[in-house]
């Protein structure tokens, strides 16, 4: 454990996980918003929107995340010249957030859609019968109940997102897996301890996250 007594190494470790935390939070918000919109599209009465939602899910759910992140960097940024900010690290971060959001939204969409199927048809009928529009029925009656039915699977998606965010390392962000690689390269005698610390950090944060979502799912379940 001598590796982590060096403040410089500790700094690499902390910076790495701070990137992971930021990627997970920003990607999670992006994926949730996008996923809900996509799910709404997929259940809408408008064929074009339904088609768009279906196409999105089929394209991004079935493309390796590494390719999507690569495309964000080499396609969006290098070729098309799209950049969010001038700072190179921060720009890579946002490109990563875009890739993670776009990819994870496909899974969020499908989870929410399966949640919508748990809401009895009578709920939407009653909402329409008192004069709610399609959007009102969806946002006030159906989605809140659907969301509460899929808290546990959304938790799994968040956990997967957190681990997936290490892939943003492939476009140069010094997140945890790049940090680990650097530390291993510089400390060949401590490969196993370094590996255990990085893996353990993920486990220590993610295991309670999973239980937390399970607890939340029970607490917020809609009683019928």
């Amino acid at each position: 454990m001598d590796v982590f007594s060096d403040p410089l190494n500790r700094d690499v470790y902390i910076t790495g996980f701070l990137w992971i935390l930021k990627l997970t939070l920003a990607g999670g918000v992006g994926a949730l918003v996008l996923g809900v919109v996509l799910a709404a599209m997929r259940v809408s009465p408008v064929p074009v929107l339904r088609g768009f939602g279906t196409a999105w899910v089929n394209i991004f759910r079935n493309t390796p995340l590494t390719l999507i992140i690569f495309f964000c960097y080499f396609g969006l940024f290098s070729t098309l010249g799209f950049s969010v900010v001038d700072d190179i690290d921060l720009n890579n971060f946002w490109l990563g957030v875009i890739g993670l959001s776009v990819y994870t939204a496909a899974f969020v969409c499908e989870a929410i859609r399966s949640g919508i199927n748990t809401v009895p048809a009578g709920q939407a009928e009653a909402a329409r019968a008192i004069g709610m529009t399609f959007i009102q029925t969806l946002t006030i009656i159906v989605l809140p109940q659907a969301g509460r039915a899929v808290i546990a699977p959304l938790g799994s998606i968040l956990i997967a997102l957190c681990k997936n965010s290490t892939i943003v390392g492939t476009i140069g962000l010094m997140e945890s897996s790049n940090a680990m690689k650097d530390l291993i390269n510089a400390n060949g005698n401590a490969v196993i301890p370094i590996f255990l610390v990085f893996a353990g950090t993920f486990a220590i944060v993610l295991i309670p996250t999973g239980y937390g979502f399970g607890w939340l799912a029970n607490r917020l379940a809609v009683k019928r």
Partner: protein
């Protein structure tokens, strides 16, 4: 009850695939009239009821509400539905909202009324149906009869021009049927326009202005309740009544 027609169905046809569920149905309901629709299962009673606020679109014919034909889709249809209350067999209270929120939601979200005023009205409606003291509970915490009375209060909160009841007591335990019928009877007495699909012959006898008998998607016979129950004119109505009234 006035002579002015509120709901007019003219030669309405509806198919579920090859099944002809509404076969050339024409029916006029006057303002303040209570029409009870009876008939065997699968006769199209519920479909008729649901067609009036277009929860079930029809294939041909016209339905007119308060002088205007039913709008096809979108906001005009939503506005029409807000004027026609509906009470379902399975209550369909919003499961994630409290009783009070269930009643307040329509006026606030659909009519954009001020929450404070709506709250007072909702509470007095809940008191009226005898559930004022349960306002903060969730639907699943109430009995079926209580839930159905909340559903009636929710429909009334929109101050509708007419109320549609789709077998409102069929999912209830027998001892709870009475409390729901009591509320419906008092509404009928106050002059609410009501279309009630039901198997409760007692309610049809004492609260209806007119009984409509349906079979196989057709409107077979209609008459004031006393006349209908004493002297059904068609064989099918006689047959139906003999099956339900002999025990």
């Amino acid at each position: 009850m006035s002579d002015e027609a509120l709901i007019v169905l003219d030669q309405v046809n509806k198919y579920f695939g090859p099944l002809h569920v509404l076969d050339d149905v024409s029916l006029t309901v006057a303002k303040g009239e209570v029409v009870v629709v009876i008939g065997p299962s699968g006769s199209g009673k519920s479909t008729l009821c649901r067609a009036i606020n277009r929860l079930e679109p029809i294939n041909s014919g016209t339905i007119t509400f308060d002088g205007k034909p039913l709008p096809a889709e979108g906001r005009p249809l939503a506005r029409l539905r807000s004027e026609v209350g509906m009470v379902f067999q399975s209550f369909n209270l919003f499961a994630h909202k409290t009783i009070l929120q269930n009643v307040m939601l329509g006026p606030i979200k659909v009519r954009k009324e001020k929450p404070a005023a709506v709250r007072d009205r909702a509470m007095s409606l809940l008191d009226r149906v005898g559930i004022g003291n349960q306002a903060d509970k969730y639907p699943a915490q109430l009995s079926g009869g209580q839930q159905q009375r909340v559903a009636i209060a929710r429909a009334l909160a929109m101050q509708p021009k007419a109320l549609l009841f789709d077998e409102p007591t069929s999912a209830l335990d027998p001892e709870m049927v009475g409390e729901v019928l009591d509320v419906m009877t008092s509404l009928a007495k106050e002059g609410m326009t009501m279309v009630v699909v039901t198997h409760e012959m007692g309610f049809a006898r004492h609260a209806a202005n007119r009984v409509v008998f349906m079979a196989d998607g057709q409107l077979v016979e209609q008459a004031p309740p006393a006349e209908f129950f004493a002297n059904p004119k068609t064989d099918r109505a006689r047959d139906f009544l003999s099956k339900i009234l002999t025990h």
